[in-house]
Amino acid sequence: MGRKGFTLIELITVIVIIGIIIGMTAPFITTMLDAWVFNRTERDIVFSGRMSMNRMVREIRQIRNASSITTFTPTEFSFLKIDNTSITFGQSGNRLLFNSDELTNKLQNPGGLNFTYLDENASITGLLNNIRMVRIRLILESGDSSLDLESLARFRNPG
């Protein structure tokens, strides 16, 4: 009765063929893994960057006027919102802090957060009473990916 399995020769041939196919497809698989890692880190920093920037712009728009500002340095900004809530944005290591909460931990360290203070003519000002707008620059990095974002918040409640 012909119940025949593989011979040793057949098995070796198949193993060799598998080896050749793996050798041929390895570059594509490597590319695929690289792309997968890239996609994931890219998605993470784009999400954190967009969320952090939106949050900062929204909070800063709620400043009543320049006299509500308590600290304005390139790396830290503190102020009172229109409901008198105290808000501080700053960088600590690679963390972007909103009061004591962390908005992201992917900031470039140092230099991932930068505030520029502008007067009503959109010129840079060092005088607290002239500040009407804040330009925000965020640089996030993770793995080989980095994201450089800029936006601007204008106080909506002057006077």
């Binding site: 198949v14 598998i18 698989i29 784009v46 800029e150």
Partner: protein, 131 residues
């Protein structure tokens, strides 16, 4: 008696070829997807810059807001440029352009371009309400 037959070598070889074609196409798909996520980053940056432009534009008030030709952003955003388009519109139909003397409404459109391709557009409405 049922005949119990093993795979032939040819059948195995064919299945291996099919598997390798599948792996190859999935790998290609991933490459395409990574280009997609690069676009997401460009759109995110452009949206931030468009918001910045809109904030700077609205500051000018009704009389001061006017159309502008494309201007490049300073480095490191120099591959991006911005353009402001202003139209006088009918308040009952914000898509209908009317003569400046017939309305107190301006529609402001900020477009941010990346390498001359428009990637983000924001629209806002400004009125000449003076109380």
């Amino acid at each position: 008696m049922k005949k119990n037959k093993a795979f032939t070598l040819a059948e195995l070889a064919i299945s291996l070829v099919i598997i390798s074609i599948c792996v190859f196409s999935v790998a290609l798909m991933y490459q395409q997807a990574s280009y997609g996520s690069f676009n997401t980053q460009v759109i995110t940056v452009a949206t931030g810059l468009a918001e910045e432009t809109m904030e700077e534009t609205l500051r000018l008030g009704y009389a001061g807001i006017n159309s502008s030709s494309p201007v490049n952003f300073p480095a490191p955003f120099d591959s991006y440029s911005r353009q402001v388009a202003v139209h006088y519109v009918n308040p009952a139909n914000l898509d209908a352009y009317v003569d400046p003397l017939q309305t107190e409404y301006k529609r402001v459109e900020v477009t941010v371009l990346h390498n001359a391709v428009a990637v983000a557009t924001l629209t806002s409405l400004v009125t000449n309400y003076t109380g």
